[in-house]
Every structure is written in C-alpha cells, then in structure tokens.
C-alpha cells in the first residue's frame, strides 16, 4: 500500500493552511498547489482502488481508538470508486479553471482555488467517513465552500442564489443534527457500522422519524424534489467550472450519503419504495421544467437534477443490477454533465442573459466547442454508441428484471422529453441562422484539453463499456454486502 485513506483529508487541509503562507512569497503557488494536491490524490485513489479490488476493504482508524469509540474511514470498492471519480473530476475542473481570474488580483484567485479544493475535499470526506457525525462535518465543509463559490461573482443574482442555497443548506444541517441526536440518544453510538448492527433495537417510531429527517437533510444536498429549489439558481449564477463541480462531484456525495443510509444503516423495508417514488417525481418534474427553460445553464441544471432522480430510482430497485445501473449512470453523469457545462459556458460566453437563443448558428463559428457540446448532448440522452446508452440500457434491464413496467414506461417517456430539449439546442447550434452580433469566445488551451479528455472518455466508455464494468460490479457487490461492511469496520484494528 502506498498511502492510507486519511491522506485524502489531511493533505488538502495541510495545503489549504499552507497556501496563504507560500502565497506571500510566490503568488503563482495559489493556482499550482491545489492542482498538485489533486493530482497526488488521484494517484493515491487509483492505487488504493486497485489494492482494494484485490485485498478487500481498508478500514482506517483515527486517533488510535478502534471503532466504535473513535472515528474511522472506510475505503472499499464502493466508496473508493466514487472517490476516484470525484478526485479525477476535481483535477479536470482545476485544469479547466487554471487560467480563471488570471487577469485579476491574486487574492480572488487564492480564494477561488482554496474553496474549490475544499469543496472537493468535503465531498470526498462525505464518501469516505464511517461515522455519522463526521459526515455532518464534511457536509458543512462542502456546503460552506459551495455557498461562497456560488456568490463568487458578487453580483445581485449570484448573491440571491447563494442566499437561497445558504438557507436550504442551514435547514439541512439542522435536520441532520436532529436525526443524529435521535440515533445517538437511542443507540449511544455514532459509528455507522455500529449503528447499523444495533438498528433492530431501536424504537420503530423514532427510527422512522430519524430516517425522514435524514432523507430531508440529504435530499437537499442530493437535489431531490421538492428540496432542490436552490440548485438551478446556484448552477446558473456560479462560475462555469463551479457548476460542473456541483454536478460532477457535490451531488454525487449527497446521493452517496442518501444511499448509505437507506442501504446500510437503516433496515426499513419501505425505504426502497420511497427512493423510487421521490426519484420518479424528481425526474419527471425536473425534465418537464428543463424543457421550459430559456437559459442554457438553467436547462443543464434541471437536466442534472433529473439524472439524479434516475439514479435514485435505480438504487430504489434494490437489486444488484439496479445498483450497477445507478453507479453507471452516476459515472456517466459525472463525465458528461461537466462537458456540457464547460462547452455550454463557452457557447454563451459573451451573451449577457445566457439565453438558449444566443447559440443560434454558432456551429459554424466555433465548430469544435459545438461538436463537443453535441457529443455530450447525444451521450446524456442515451443515444448509441455513446456512454449514456449503456447506463440507460442497464437501468432498463434492471427494471425489467424486477417487473417494474410502469417505471420503465415512465422513464422512456421522460427520455423523449429529454431528447427534445437537447436536440432543440443542437438544432439551434447547427441549423439556425445567426441573428445576434455576439462574438464567439475561443476556449483556452486548457479548456480544450479538458473537454477533449471528457469527450474521449464518452467514446471509450461508449465503445468499450466493459472497461469500467468490473469496477462497477465490485462497487455494487460491496454496497450490497452489509454484513461484511459491519464486520470489517467493527473488527478493524490499528494497522
């Protein structure tokens, strides 16, 4: 082993505290250090993931107190898979925004990169931790970075978006804390595995109350309807790369938390149906809202919410195939949605209102960006042979195996809606006459590199879906094996 999971938290924190000091003497370091940290974490994640695939989960004890006394981190096939995606996407977002604010003061750049790094660290922490209160702390870290990044342009609209997010996030924190309080008062422990093993001793009424509180609190982070009022505004008003980071990284952490609670910690039988219902409502409402949007980024935001609804439905099926499909959708969404945000924000770069109509005929002026956007649009609606096709196919197969015909029908008809609003944009890009006199903006070199990497990944996964399916299967198995999770945590010792 080349490192341990705690480095995912310790190294970025050390860097965050070091950056102000080094920045005083070497100003460029505020941009470079976060990138180096993320690159190191990516190497670490890949190494640990391949170690875990062979040797089983790593349970790291912190402060020398074995679970359930102390806090522990769990790096298994499931959490490791998500951490790897998150860190990889974080690195790409960093690379994309490397020149961001290069013409402005050092101070703004320092804060931007610091907050971005902590946004990623918080999300990684949510996924790695094995303790319910520790998860609360990481959710706080993620959301506070999120509020600040949303308000980064300090305009009126972004302040409003950030304030909305802040209010929703604070309500989520209170709910989460109440839920944790109920669990601690009944079971006297905060360790996830320990809570899970004692869950049957809890009073059913209190169990239901705390579960509902958890679902509300985490639903706000996971953008579940009707708790996602903050999301479209935040996506539309935040700087472009931040929108990509929200959809590629932060939402994944929220969904992970929700899934960890339903699958591992609580043993409520109705929870899976609840997931299907809230997932379906989220999906339908978001896709119907997306088709009515006139601003490009808001449309992408609603589409992102819709995809998360699909993920929840897929987790709610409750079979291994369902989990496999859900993880596949999450992976594809993490790759495709940032590509759409990156290329989309260049398509409407000089437009004041960022309207969809401003992309009319831009295909001739900015061909590469337009093609990359189109690739993303084709992939996300699930056209073969792109990546999104396989995830949607595996979802439909999983649903068909469980005889959920109504769900399949609903999802297919919603997919048509999705197809319509994406194709509408693509149609405007290539076949409409340019009516505005807006200039086009050439993406920076870094932005091209990032978008092409994402585009290639869409093609690779599209043509060789087997290249990722092993990791997905391992992750799905590890989520399902609840007793092994509990056993491996509670028998963990200091290595």
């Amino acid at each position: 082993m080349v490192g341990t999971p705690v480095l995912f938290i310790a190294i970025p924190l050390l860097a965050a505290f070091l950056i102000p000091l080094i920045g005083m003497v070497w100003k460029e370091s505020v941009r470079i250090i976060p990138g180096l940290v993320l690159a190191y974490l990516l190497v670490l994640a890949i190494n640990l993931l391949s170690y875990v695939t062979v040797n089983g989960p790593i349970v790291e004890v912190i402060a020398g107190w074995a679970p359930p006394i102390g806090i522990n981190l769990v790096f298994n096939a499931f959490s490791g898979f998500l951490v790897t995606i998150m860190v990889f996407m974080g690195l790409l977002v960093w690379l994309y925004s490397y020149r961001f604010k290069s013409n402005v003061e050092y101070e703004a750049a320092r804060k931007y990169f610091l907050l971005l790094m902590m946004l990623i660290t918080g999300s990684v922490g949510i996924v790695l931790t094995g303790d319910i209160f520790n998860m609360f702390v990481f959710i706080e870290i993620t959301s506070i970075s999120g509020y600040a990044l949303t308000a980064f342009y300090t305009g009126r609209d972004s302040a409003e978006a950030s304030f909305k997010y802040l209010m929703m996030g604070s309500i989520a924190s209170v709910m989460l804390l109440l839920a944790i309080m109920i669990i601690y008062s009944q079971l006297g422990t905060l360790n996830m595995a320990d809570v899970a093993s004692k869950m049957h001793l809890m009073d059913p009424k209190l169990k239901a109350v705390s579960f509902i509180l958890f679902v509300i609190a985490l639903g706000i982070e996971a953008e579940v309807f009707p708790l996602n009022g903050w999301a479209p505004d935040a996506y539309a008003e935040a700087p472009g790369p931040v929108g990509a980071a929200f959809s590629g990284i932060v939402v994944k952490a929220g969904v992970y938390a929700l899934i960890r609670y339903t699958y591992t910690i609580f043993d409520l039988s109705g929870a899976f149906n609840l997931l299907i219902i809230i997932g379906l409502i989220t999906l339908v409402v978001a896709e119907v809202a997306a088709i009515r949007q006139e601003k490009l980024k808001r449309m992408l935001a609603y589409s992102s919410i819709g995809q998360m609804g699909l993920v929840l439905v897929s987790f709610g099926i409750g079979t291994k195939e369902g989990v496999f499909a859900a993880l596949f959708i999450m992976l594809n969404h993490a790759i495709i949605k940032p590509l759409l945000f990156f290329s989309g924000s260049y398509l409407v770069y000089h437009s004041k209102k960022k309207m969809i109509s401003d992309v009319d005929g831009i295909g001739k002026l900015a061909p590469l960006t337009s093609i990359l956007f189109t690739l993303g649009a084709f992939a996300i609606v699930g056209l073969p042979p792109f990546a999104g096709f396989w995830s949607k196919l595996s979802f439909l197969m999983a649903a068909a195996d469980s005889n959920m015909l109504l769900v399949i029908g609903l999802i297919l008809s919603v997919s048509v809606v999705e197809l319509v609003y994406y194709m509408r944009v693509v149609n405007r890009i290539f076949f409409f006459k340019r009516t505005t006199s807006l200039l086009t903006r050439r993406p920076t070199f870094n932005a091209y590199v990032v978008m092409i990497i994402l585009g290639l990944m869409i093609l690779v996964i599209g043509f060789y879906p087997d290249s990722v399916s092993m990791y997905l299967h391992n992750a799905a198995n590890s989520l399902f094996d609840k007793s092994q999770y509990i056993h491996s945590v509670l028998t963990a010792t200091i290595q």
Binding site: A63, E105, E107, K111, S185, Q186, L201
Partner: protein, 240 residues
C-alpha cells in the same frame, strides 16, 4: 390562504416532532433505554482519566476521541472566514473610511487600554488550561477576539495587520494537521497521541491535547479578529 396552509402543515409536523423529542427524555442520566446497548460515552469517561490523564472529559472527547471532527470544524471556521473575505472583497474597494458616528469617550479609550491585556491573558489562560478546567481553544480564542473588538471600537484608527493574522492562522492550522500527521508516523494512526500523558491534573499532561488546543486557540482568535476587522473596516488593505 397558501400561508395558512403552510402554517398548518408546519404546526402538524412540529407537534409530532416535539412529541418525539419529549419521549426521548434528554437530560436523564441514562437515556439509552435498552440495557443491551453499551453506549460509547461510558468508555469515553473511563478512558479520559485512565488512559489520557485528562480531567476535562469534554476536552478529551473534542480533541482526542473525536479530534477528526474538530479538525473539520476548524476548517469550517477557516472556510467561513475565507468565504466572507471573498464576498466582501469587491465591496471593499468602493467603500471609503470606516463610518464612525461619534468617537469614543476618553473613559472608553483608556479603560479598554487597561482591559485589553487582561482579556488576552484570560483568553490564553482558558485555552492553555483547556484540558484541566472548563473551556478550551474555541472559547479562549473567542475571548481574545473580543479584546480586539474592544480595541477596534475604542480607537477609530486601530489597525490589525492582515498578513500577521493570516500567518498566525496558517501556522496554527499547520500545527494541528502536522501533529496529526506526526501521530500517523509515530503511533500508526492520524491524530494518535504520541507524547507521554503525564500526571492527572498537571499542566503538562494529556499528551498532544494541550498542543492542539493551543493551536486551535490561536487559530480561532486570529480568524474571529479577521472577521471583525473585515466587517468593521471595509476599506481594508489591498491584501485582505
């Protein structure tokens, strides 16, 4: 109509939630009702004295058993300060002098001069003795920041070096993570105690606990002073 419906809904939800929380019986000495469950708190209380040689159980839980959470909370504060700075950043270029309605009287100015060292001393005492007596790094840091608040209110042109604050803040943060990583290298796990724990009730006891709490004290003091200064003195320096 809509508002009445919302209020009604909230009332129903609130009623049931309140009912649930009254059932739990917070504040009873043994509120974990099931005898089959052994709560971790018993282990905390026992190990605080036996193993860590710390007389303040709250401190041992905050800094040692759940020190990782505290590192997170320290980061939350750090991020909030950064976020506040990044939001107020643009504003500060436009706004001119600090607006002062009337200047403080000589009683306030000379009184705060006398009080300031005492307040800082009290703050330092609280965080140095965090493992022996009530209080700790967070509380001590807040006390010190109130001292700076007093000075800023009493003297219109009192200024705090922003670079100095961020150096203190960074060094304190590095100390926390650094101590954690040293435990990782010496003892095996992050934030594990690697120093001798000493005698119960001595100033030099508790291993790494006082070191971390002193770092937290400095960090909180610097950060809160920075917040007060940013909000109060919107003109600020270039390097805010």
């Amino acid at each position: 109509m809509k508002k009445i419906l919302v209020l009604l809904l909230l009332a129903v939800v609130g009623f049931y939630l309140a009912g649930t929380f009254f059932d739990i019986g917070f504040g009873n000495s043994h509120f974990v009702k099931n005898d089959a469950i052994k709560p971790v708190k018993d282990i905390y209380l026992q190990q605080t004295v036996q193993e860590l040689k710390v007389s303040n159980a709250v401190t041992s839980i905050v800094v040692n058993f759940r020190g990782f959470d505290t590192l997170g909370e320290v980061t939350v504060l750090f991020l909030s300060v950064t976020a506040l700075g990044s939001i107020l950043y643009k504003k500060r270029h436009h706004v001119g002098e600090r607006s002062v309605l009337f200047s403080a009287s000589s009683i306030v100015t000379s009184g705060s001069k006398l009080l300031f060292p005492a307040i800082v001393l009290l703050g330092a005492y609280v965080f140095i003795h965090g493992h022996l007596s009530p209080g700790g790094g967070f509380q001590g840091g807040v006390i010190i920041a109130t001292g700076f608040l007093l000075m800023l209110l009493a003297y219109e042109n009192y200024s705090v070096s922003h670079n100095g604050l961020s150096i203190v803040e960074s060094l304190a943060g590095i100390t926390f993570v650094g101590v954690g990583l040293l435990g990782f290298m010496n003892g095996g796990t992050f934030l594990q105690n690697f120093l001798p724990t000493g005698e119960l009730n001595n100033l030099f006891s508790g291993g790494i606990i006082p070191i971390i709490y002193i770092a937290v004290g400095f960090k909180v003091a610097a950060e809160l002073t920075g917040v007060i200064y940013t909000v109060l003195n919107e003109k600020g320096e270039q390097n805010g």
